[in-house]
Symmetry: C2
């Protein structure tokens, strides 16, 4: 596919071969409905959509970092997950159903809007499978957080989260060696893991005192990958080969293999 027939905004998008983007681009190239994709900038600390609104479009994060959150009247907030570049933001199978969470940008972000993803899926089993794959990945991530939030102490939880984000960024080439961008506040970490910001503070200091990681100026460095992984997997029954079972590690290889 020559670049000249790509949708305008996709041409120079670094995520173009990632996840559902590749599937969408293929379909759009066929139907020539390039105009349907639009870019939208979301300033830091602004919401893209709110819980209980009805979805009209699907968004894909192009640049930046967003959080999906649920808010309770008690003032408690649960972060469902960090949305990283290339991630789908809001696929809903039922347009009449409200969003189950809000999306907020924690740094200036750019999203692509994709109308009618569902209809595109009806035309293309390949796109459906890519979307399915994306959902599997999200389920896998949620299940990993579930396991790690349920039975682990604060030190292990924070270590898990650091490694999880490192892995997810690394897959997209958004790391710089063991250093990753880290725009999250301590309160964001707390609301992701079910801790208080104060305890996250204590825990981060402990991890830094132990030289496992460091966090300064919105940069997180994994100082000791081995020890950090051991902390997270502490006592986990391990497969003899392969990556840690407690860090999600799905890649796109599996899908690619089957589609080819």
């Amino acid at each position: 596919m020559g670049t000249n027939i790509l949708p305008k905004y996709c041409k120079n998008c670094p995520r173009i071969h990632y996840g559902v983007c590749s599937g969408i681009v293929k379909i759009l190239s066929k139907t020539k409905k390039f105009h349907s994709i639009k870019l939208q900038t979301v300033p830091a600390k602004k919401h893209l959509f709110y819980q209980y609104e009805s979805p009209v479009k699907t968004y894909i994060l192009r640049e930046g970092w967003m959080l999906l959150t649920q808010l309770s009247a008690q003032g408690k907030r649960q972060v469902i997950r960090s949305v990283l570049p290339g991630d789908l933001l809001s696929f809903q199978t039922d347009v009449e159903k409200a969003f189950s969470y809000s999306a907020i940008a924690i740094e200036e972000s750019v999203v692509c809007t994709v109308p009618d993803l569902f209809n595109m899926c009806c035309q293309s089993p390949e796109l459906s499978l890519k979307l399915l794959w994306e959902e599997v990945r999200e389920r896998d991530l949620a299940e990993h957080y579930m396991t790690n939030i349920a039975h682990r102490n604060a030190l292990e939880k924070v270590a898990f989260m650091a490694l999880e984000l490192y892995h997810r960024l690394e897959t997209r080439g958004l790391n710089n060696g063991y250093i990753i961008p880290f725009p999250l506040k301590q309160e964001d970490i707390a609301d992701t893991l079910g801790l208080t910001a104060i305890h996250v503070n204590r825990t981060l200091h402990q991890l830094q005192a132990d030289n496992l990681l460091s966090l300064h100026k919105h940069k997180l460095s994994i100082l000791d990958y081995e020890k950090l992984t051991a902390l997270v997997n502490q006592g986990q029954s391990q497969p003899n080969t392969g990556k840690s079972p407690t860090i999600p590690c799905l890649t796109e290889d599996g899908l690619a293999k089957q589609l080819n």
Copy 2:
């Protein structure tokens, strides 16, 4: 579609119109590969598969109740979710990747084996969408558990779990009014919610003392649906209409609407 062209085992299956089953039956009816579906009985307390095995087939639970679990060498076990009749047990997008959890029957169960679900999807956009829908539902469930495990106390967690299972069984018509089958041990509840069995015991007694629910002989009764829901949603900012945001409530209506 006349019942005479249905796969042998599906004819009298009460789940035949539920979830992915309906999609699979349609495809099998076209290709006449009925022989590929087989039934398998899993006795109580036996595993269907273990974490770190490689998947060869996909299973759908026909009767019974299974748990997906991860085990750590420390002896701690995380229940990822209860698998109820009609649920997919083990769809993996990559056949070379090991299962990320074990499946154990907590009462005698019957599963259908479906080979090659992935290939069937390539032939049928409708089946792909049903599978996608199923994954969305599972992700939604995992996210709800995440939220409820992270920020809630034991009373709210157990109340949430009781309601969640009630809703999921009710959708399938497996309830008897407010009474549902409940083969879980206190330890199973504990391992699902990240509590100890002892504290689950205390909590269950409290909920029963408050007349919110009762649990005897593997039957759970929701005694006060309203209060129980209020307990789970306590302080949650609510949409003006519709069901509770903390209990997953996706139905198949959304998908059906769009497919028709």
